[in-house]
Amino acid sequence: MKNIKVLFFGKLKEIWENNHLNLKTESSNIEELYSELLKSASSEPFKSSIKVARNDEFCDWSTTIEDGDEVAFLPPASGG
């Protein structure tokens, strides 16, 4: 089991009703972690618009996660 901190931003905070979660998981990559997280989502977000980051770096959905990682799910940017 890995301990992972998950961060949600923007409208994803509302979908998960939280800005972060600390969880224990057996998911091996971000894709699997996301599928696991969907079970606790209040609605299903538009996945293809979400970017993911691991330990403050953008990464792919297939990126492996390790114990102690911080994984962020980012909706499309709307700054400016």
């Binding site: 961060l7 931003f9 923007g10 409208k11 509302e14 970017k51 980051a53 403050d56 770096e57 953008f58 962020a72 980012l74 909706p75 499309p76 940017a77 709307s78 700054g79 400016g80």
Partner: protein, 136 residues
């Protein structure tokens, strides 16, 4: 350099930092909070960022601008937190020897910041409701 700011943007200070004796052109863009969006009357905006990644991505965009255009200096500051109508939300300034590079680099930095830097805008409308703004 790109940075996030929780405090009002001091455009005079930023301009002084961007001007350069070797440059004949200075181009600046200021983004201001307006009182309406997509048919709704806006009361205020709340900007949220993923700070570490936002500063990293913002600085990457400025590096790209230096690679693409013949510019001498480039700065961008983006506000976070709650902003009222008439507050400045983003400032981009570029100095270059000649105007063409300065105009193009300023546009490039602004467009890339809006689409790539993890910053999100929550609009609060005068009807009491609020909502996250989708990418334009």
């Amino acid at each position: 350099m790109f940075r996030l700011s929780e405090n009002p943007i001091n455009d005079n200070d930023l301009k002084k930092l961007t001007l350069d004796d070797e440059c004949g052109g200075f181009v600046c863009f200021e983004g201001w909070v307006r009182n309406h969006n997509q048919g709704k009357s806006v009361l205020k905006l709340a900007y949220e960022a993923y700070p570490k990644l936002a500063e990293k991505e913002g600085n990457q965009i400025i590096e790209e601008a230096f690679e693409k255009f013949a510019i001498k200096k480039a700065l961008c500051t983006h506000r976070i937190g709650t902003l009222a109508i008439g507050d400045m939300a983003v400032w981009v300034g570029v100095s270059a020897a000649h105007r063409d590079a300065a105009f193009k680099a300023c546009r490039y930095i602004l467009d890339e910041v809006k689409s790539r830097v993890p910053i999100w805008k929550n609009e609060h409308w005068t009807d009491g409701e609020s909502g996250w703004v989708e990418q334009e």
